[in-house]
Assembly symmetry: C2
Homo-oligomer: 332 residues x 2
DNA sequence: ATGAAAGCGCTAACAA
DNA sequence: TTGTTAGCGCTTTCAT
């Protein structure tokens, strides 16, 4: 048995005794083919196990409709929510989306970016702050590139979408102030750009209000210690410890919650807690967490809009900033 | 300004003053091009913003290297773990993987499957039990198809990979028996095939051991009630309630954990709990959950192996079953 | 309603 | 080292 080449429309045409043009028309259900021949062609195709060659078809029709999306981590709902919004918008535009993820490894992420470019995506949307700026810059020359989320440094040639961390932080802090809190501490998790921005905005807001700052910064892996430090102060009866904590993300906030409850502090009675990101966690922990929400789906849709603009010829980069909002729940 | 057609190798060739063959060679870093011309070509390409047309390239080279993977839900670590293993194996084979997800919607999932086929994937791996069998069968005619996870009915023409639910259940129940438990209840969540299999295996195992069965089945949305029913029996002082619960998944098990602790029952002292799937949840709740682990990464790798076999011409379907193992933690 | 012929952009013989 | 020439499988005029 020969290595059985995959059948083409020519084979089908031969089998049905017609020209390949007719086959092409019939297979795509285009008008202009008599019922009889159409049936004969379809039957012959089925018979041979014919499958259209996508590459050839797209070569002719110009299959420029694939958008690559790169996210840090499949398990992170922040990223997947952005993807959802983007996919929704893409569907409306008749564009396809291809998602790749780095499984929390920069190396993997870089490989995936190259793979997508090699696969011929028309543009790439990066929802991750893990890619090195020089790579982004280089890639932006190969295809339109939109970065969603924090960008550590300005990179020429690409579009960006960010939430306004300063505004989000202000929302959180002023919510607490409005509730009568004056001793508001900040728990900063990690030194990533987002955390830094939020920390700075916290400091500014407190200063503007004439309130004293109380900042604890911890690495992502030793949140527990920082939380303990914070709460030791709170437990003091002399009334100098914080009555509220604003954490730079929901995970940190949930740790504060846990620790507070372990120490017999009531939330929000003895201690109010606000997080950032409005993640699943915020809707899961008890009490439910008040948290700053980034309009993730909107950011995804916006990303797609920028992509389309680029594809249509826009050349000067755009940097969009979206406004977060505060979701108030049981923890304040 | 005209609608600027995308540059081709011919444009690059003209700009560099060479033939298109040279451009093709230079761009692919093939040998046989002098350093000087190569540099000139690369520069011209960069200058024009040239990007290779994947469709044309694949038409010629026979781009049979893209594997589509379909998962129910980006947020489900069972699925993403399978994908991880698969991607690892794919990388070794020089195959590319394209992941699409259905965001917990059958309709979306179906659309994604069609999209992948239209995009020309060489084969599809479906990690989901949400696709209707007839669609699977039809798709299996369009491209090799491997289904990972439970398959409700036998579908001709496709390969399957499953964990041995009966064996896993036996592992769980006999672990409890070995710990001295005799009144072991089962909490079945949903009526999906996996849950059914586990329920049946529980019944068999208990019967084999001469122990009385105690089964509570609940829908995925009202687990709470079922758990309450179970625990009311446990709380009775007359010593007839269960001393252990085997739940058909980790979510159910974690609910049992929560409820037990709310009622002042010690785990594992008053009540031992075993889950299924060894999900993130099992490593998160307190006490940590003893759970049956499916070798997810292995299943992914196996899926890729089956795909490769199909691509190399295997025609008779294969149905692989992998052995789960029990991970013992604090809840028993 | 049907067929012939001209490409789509690229790779790969083969010549020069 | 370079250029010329066929295709890859399909869609799409344009004749018939």
């Amino acid at each position: 048995m020969p290595p059985t080449r995959r059948p083409t429309i020519i084979d089908v045409a031969a089998a049905a005794g017609v020209s390949k043009s007719l086959v092409s028309l019939a297979l795509r259900a285009e008008p202009g083919v008599s019922e009889a021949t159409r049936a004969r062609i379809l039957h012959a195709a089925e018979d041979l196990g014919y499958r259209s060659n996508v590459w050839a078809r797209n070569l002719v029709r110009g299959g420029e409709n694939l958008i690559g999306v790169l996210i840090t981590d499949l398990g992170n709902s922040y990223h997947t929510d952005v993807v959802l919004g983007l996919e929704e918008a893409a569907q409306e535009q008749g564009l396809s989306v291809m998602v790749a993820h780095g499984m929390r490894s920069t190396e993997r992420l870089v490989a995936q970016l190259h793979r997508q470019l090699a696969l011929g995506v028309a543009a790439v949307v990066v929802v991750s702050s893990w890619l090195p700026p020089d790579l982004l810059e280089a890639s932006a020359r190969a295809a339109p590139l939109v970065v969603v989320g924090r960008l550590p440094v300005a990179v020429p040639g690409l579009d960006t979408i960010n939430n306004d961390d300063a505004a989000g932080t202000r929302l959180a802090v002023e919510h607490l102030v409005g509730l009568g809190h004056e001793r508001i501490a900040h728990l900063g998790i990690s030194n990533r750009p987002a955390a830094q921005q939020r920390r700075a905005a916290y400091a500014t807001t407190m200063r503007d209000r004439g309130l004293a700052e109380h900042i604890v910064v911890v690495g992502p892996d030793d949140v527990t210690e920082g939380v303990a430090t914070l709460l030791r102060a709170t437990a003091r009866a002399d009334g100098t410890g914080p009555t509220a904590v604003f954490a730079s993300n929901d995970l940190g906030a949930s740790r504060v919650l846990d620790a507070a409850i372990d120490r017999g502090l009531g939330v929000p009675g003895d201690l109010a807690v606000v997080g950032y990101d409005n993640s699943t966690l915020a809707r899961t922990v008890r009490p439910r967490l008040t948290s700053v929400d980034q309009p993730r789906a909107d950011m995804g849709r916006l990303a797609l809009r920028l992509v389309v603009e680029r594809l249509e010829g826009r050349v000067e980069p755009r940097h969009e900033v979206v406004a977060p909002r505060l979701v108030v729940r049981g923890s304040t």
